[in-house]
Amino acid sequence: MPQYILRRLLQLIPVFFGTTFLIYALVWAVPGDPFAGKCGQVACPPAYIEMMTAKFNLDDSIFVQYFKYLGNLFTGDWGETFNGVSVGELIGNAYPVTVRLALIAVAIEAIIGLSAGILTGLRGKGFLDNLVLMSTTFLISIPVFVTAIVLQIVLGSELGIIDASVSEDATIGELIVPGIALGSLSMAYIARLTRTSIAENRHADYVRTAVAKGQPRSRVVGVHLLRNSVIPVLTFIGTDIGALMGGAIVTEGVFNINGIGGLIFRGIQNREGATVTGVVVLLVMVYLLVSLIVDLLYAVLDPRIRYD
């Protein structure tokens, strides 16, 4: 096990260099002058462009630029945006909010998705099953920005239950509705996935054996059935945490949440390589770590799984 973890952690190194270089090159190699539109209708003074070019090493080849960037990164300097704000500070401001939002979204999708999936999986065909089937189909078919805007307008402007935008504190309470919007799609998938998995395993031999042994139904379902059925769902939730961190672009935009999603969005729009690269490095790390944790959890759920 420790060997496995070590190997997985070592794998992070090439992934780190690969992704950061790709992202850095993609952002800065976009054709066009990043400072062309900075001074409105008038072209910027040459002194300004020269200073900015020097500041961001844009005269060097992309490799030299990248290694200069990495050098700074290892000394803890994430670089600066064009308007002189440290990227480290931006990420520091944005991260807690996005983590909170993502956790709320995961909690919502896990709680509602799993319960709906378990209920329908156990009962089989009937009214409830049809209801869940229809509502999940509905959720899957509408894009997140529609869900978000509809929730915002109906609950916010029309009914006045929530505020249309999240305040600067971004408290848990304020983040629930955005969390629902963000998690709605995955919630539908989780319900479907759980339902299928439970329905399949319901007639498995080990469940029949457990029932035959006279164990109470709650134990049969809770321990025997659920434990085995939840593995694919767990994989999904695991990768979803990573996806939610980056995928919050739309939701954060709609509810005006100052998080990682918005940071990437603005970074790409303004061609700010430092911001985009910095955030993506972090997202890659989160992705890798979460998938490592998910892999390790497998062994806990199913002792037959061994790592070597």
């Binding site: 300004y48 915002q152 307008i153």
Partner: protein, 538 residues
Amino acid sequence: MRASRGFWGATAVVATAALLLTACGGGGSGDDKGSGAVDANASVSVYGTEPENSLIPANTNELGGSKALKPVFSALVGYKSDTAEPYNLMAESITTTDSKVFDIKIKKGWKFHDGTEVKAKNFVDAWNYSANGKNGMQNASFFEQIQGYDEISAKEPAVKEMSGLKVVNDYEFQATLKGPFSVFATKIGYLAFAPLPDKFFADPEAFAKAPIGNGPLKFVSRTPNQNMKLTRFDEYQGEDKVKFKDLEVRIYTSQETAYQDLLSNRLDFMEALPPAAKAGGKYKTDLGERLVEGKLLGISALALPYYVPGYNNLDLRKAISLAIDREQIVKTVMNDTYAPADGYVSRGIEGYRPGVCEFCKFDPVKAKEFFAKSGYTGKLTIASNADGGRKEPLVAACNSIKNALGVECDFVPATDFGQWRSIVNNRQLTGMGRSDWSADYPSIENYLNPRYKSTGSSNDSTYNNPAVDALLTQADQTADKAAAIKLYQQAEDLIAKDLPQIPVWEEKGVGGKSNRLKTVKLDFGRLADYSSIEVAAK
């Protein structure tokens, strides 16, 4: 299963509690209209976007940064919000006999927010720093008329001061220009000409994070991408004092969200409305009495670059201009947020005359005649960045041209403003291009010199008429304001004959306010005039 049940129970409690919290958060804003009294200790929030550059006056020229910096700094000259008329703000007097040497006296007793007094050298030092090429300030070229600018704006300048700036005493300094420039006294109201305290020069970078100015509001804090907070500077001496206490410039990623907040009174002011609200004139019913209309100083035009084959043809220019149904487009596509343009200068500017552009009326019959005379074949194109609602009116203009002239017309999109400006600046247009202009300072000069002088910084159509250049130069050098305006008007008449650009429409400036605000005015540069804001007392 006991543990499991406990878990569900706990979740239920958390979920309920959280829902209750959300419900509490939503209630707040009411419809208090008040009895006419003004709450002098109120806080006000305005819609904002992230500043594009560091928060230094000479490095700020876009709306996002200006919103926070303008109220923090007071320049020598201010502009009235209704008429855009300049008046002496920090200046005691600005005198000149030849429009070349300006003697500027400043008012005594004004303070920066750190308590130090504003002196003449604060202006001179700030201007020298801003013009210095080494510092790479975006607005450096605003100082170009001052003697010594050419030396100091070099990449590695040998001098640290412009020879044209001289401190006479603590409250008086002298600016000598390269040549006479009659509009200088109006121009120095622009943000880039603001004074900087001694603290700035010690550490400009730290200053940019917490600017110290001499304006009606002082900087409190800033969270990037979130907000900027300002508060009233109680020792402020100027006549544009504010009548509230705190100001929050709240940064939004989407205008739509800000608009939702405005409608539910969580946001107090927005100077622009999202396209969704403009569609079908929805904003009129949405906002009702809360609609705020301004008089922006700016003009939208189509540049017809002389370097594009076939476009160097006066008959074609006339044909296109006559073929655009401005009235119709302004009404149906822009929902009355714009007005048709009929000249090269905005309506609110001193020296504006109606109908200067005789070909700016819709006349399909005459348009067709001119088009036949031009002998132009092939299709016409209009290029622009397509974001921010730029596309729709230009597509409509294209259709109008197509219907009137019977010629193909296409809209050519650029991805964003940056790419768009690099196409224009590098002279890579292949047809007509959108060429909008917002005045930096309210003067007829600011509409003509940058755009139609052959050396103009924003001469998108590469227009070059020596007669126009000569008239503009002569006007610049004329000390008498009325006489100068006459000369600028003569230049405008010549431009109208050549049609280097086709004026299409002018933005009116439409914003909205919350129920809390009794009054708010929009200034010519699309900013809230903070001194006009009054919050109704509860």
